[in-house]
Subunit: 308 residues, 3 copies
């Protein structure tokens, strides 16, 4: 692999979070991160770069590296750790350690999931970040006076749902994949997705809406819905199941809706499950649901996996 | 598949919880559920029907559908959710969502466990119900003033073991597979098992006894023993390991006893593990123990798997 | 298998905890356990014997038995349970039940991990001991007035790191694999490792140092570092990745260092994760990290698995 191939590989390491390789998508995503806050852009790229370089040094096959498949978990590790542990030198160290761990875990999962034809998705990011966040209180230098991040609903318990929650939640569901909770940042991500294809952007928006509807019907707090917290796992699941990994069909769309509903229900589960130990929801619901929904496809004569 | 094949498929979806397909067993089980409470019968059948129909719509192979293998997790999801969330419209919605999720998870596990020749057992039910119960407090409409169900021992701490605990516990160990805690309901289930074969009923009864003995020796609370809470996982493990999935032999019986002991020990573990997040024990101990005990069989020259 | 082959098989069941089969290593380890406390020696050998005998009775292939691969999880189960539940008859019973469960789980994992060419490591010990310790409060006869063991740092919060912590921590990192926290017991284990090969002892010592450095940099409590609690998982990971399961090379050493770092970070995670339910860290971090690092090797052209 040539050195000149590294920058595009790292850029694709940002867009691959949403399964995309188009360079315009990648640019939009990077812009969105910087609009969300310079630290998200810098630490996200740091994570993607360290993860990608680790893969190169260890000798991962070059098509995975250039496709950005070795970088995207590093991106999210960088963004998540700077969010939880602030801009500090120890955070830089943690992102480097985390991205290396995530890189090894990626290759391990490629081997373990290969026989079942399942991608790693963001599982390495989820695992490494959960390990760091749950373990952090044991380390004085990381934790120092920090406390568990509370969900938006903690500040506004019992608040009524407003129209603002609805439309901002729709965009935030797209942005929260990268921990962003400003609606216009979500919109930039959505524009990036549109460069990858109209279907992708449409799937994302509809899945975000499905997440919101399920959350309203079951009675989730309004502030969390408005922040997009019940949408982002549905968004990733929705994109994955409509055309990306499952061939598009009428039944396939229903299947994707079921997946988005399941991801929303799992969001509440993962959040509550990790509460006693201070873990975060991350994209665990998407990973679990989409693995299950893809693993099940061969048993169903009505559905087909996309050729990879 | 013809529409006329659906009702027997759904009925077998009740008896397959205990690995049985005999229609008399299925009828006894359905009667037992209604004797336990009309809501258990109705929601159990609802869950079995939705799960079976989902499998049909998605195109699962018809021998699995007609054998009831696509329905039994739905049955338990229905019974469990009406127990935890009462007779309400939101519970109907949850059972439908849960049965669909359970159906997809069943097909995913069939694919994932296939190479190891392991059945899904009640894992889809355990997973879906745990997700629903742990996640429920996040949803106002589901939770509304509800609190975690306390075990019987909470009301009678330190009570002495009585003869009534012993003999009722023996039958309740059979009934608790379906969350039933009246001894005569357990007896109806046992009669149903007898229709499937004398060995099956005997295994169930002996395994229930093993669970009680282990619980007494280790010092579990009398009220929980009497309610059958330390027996039902041993019962399922016992039936599975004597003749059903392992060829019957002298060593095989010892192996089944070891499995029943392990399931009883795991009952305490799973109960305590889920306590901080409000999860329930369900049949996790049986699933974990029996998967392990079956996966190990090929390594043992003294034991053999039953031909399927 | 002849009866005379049993004692050496059981002895190797002690040294296999550190992947070694040399009889001098085994003798040193047994001596170290007795120096640590007679109960550790007796219960460790009891666990190894029960586990090995279970494997013989069930008919496991004799090369696994004579190599000590069927005994080492039993050894640790015996040592751990006598540490947590004291010298009592109920502990003897628990060790017997636990060693049988661990033996079956070992064979199950051999089958499940076989396709990926991963050893069981101490996973059966970790699983069985976690099950016992988390489940114990449910059983009056086991628990009786017991409380969760507190880490050394609980007694000395905020104490400064001393030179004694450093050099004793280095040896304790080797001894804590067997729950031993006296530096000279760790030294006897280290001498045992030296009989197996200079590289093995060197790897152990360096990995222990890596664990200490990472713990200091991230700010772990001094008392825990001195007790070796941040070193023993790094020690096992270090030995496993340098020559034992991965061919030694310059990149391989870097890989092993990354593994030791990851094991130290995971130590904090596992400790915090199990806190709400009273579980212990055990060697979970080593098992998880080393499985992942070995599973990833085939994806890396720069590394190679050792021939087994």
């Amino acid at each position: 692999m040539k050195a000149s191939e590294l920058p595009p590989a790292i850029a694709r390491g940002v867009s691959q979070v949403d399964f995309q390789v188009d360079y315009r998508t990648a640019l939009c995503f990077i812009v969105a991160l910087f609009v969300g806050g310079w630290q998200f852009g810098v630490f996200g790229l740091l994570g993607a770069a360290v993860a990608t370089l680790t893969a190169v040094v260890l000798g991962v096959s070059s098509d995975r590296v250039t496709g950005g498949l070795e970088g995207f978990n590093g991106t999210l590790i960088g963004v998540a750790l700077v969010l939880y542990f602030d801009v500090r030198w120890v955070t830089v160290l943690l992102v480097i350690i985390g991205a290396i761990m995530g890189s090894v875990l990626t290759s391990a999962l490629v081997a373990l999931l290969g026989p079942y034809n399942l991608p790693t998705f963001t599982a390495p990011f989820c695992a490494v970040t959960t390990i760091m966040v749950v373990g952090a209180p044991a380390f004085e230098r990381i934790w120092r006076g920090r406390s568990m991040a509370a969900p938006p609903s903690a500040a506004y318990p019992g608040r009524e749902l407003t129209f603002t929650d609805l439309w901002q939640g729709l965009f935030n569901g797209v942005g929260q994949v990268f921990f962003q909770s400003k609606w216009y940042v979500g919109l930039i991500f959505l524009i990036g997705l549109a460069f990858a294809g109209r279907l992708v952007a449409l799937s994302a928006l509809l899945a975000s809406a499905v997440g919101i509807v399920v959350a309203i019907v079951l009675g989730a707090p309004a502030a969390d819905i408005g922040a997009g917290l019940y949408g982002y796992n549905a968004v990733l699941t929705g994109i994955a199941l409509t055309g990306t990994f499952v061939v598009l069909s009428r039944l396939g769309v229903l299947y994707a809706v079921a997946g988005a509903v399941a991801a929303t229900v799992l969001t509440a589960f993962v959040t509550d499950f990790f509460k006693p130990v201070g873990g975060h929801t991350l994209t665990w619901p998407f990973v679990i649901v989409t693995w299950i929904f893809l693993a099940a496809v061969p048993a169903f004569s009505g559905l087909r996996r996309s050729p990879t």
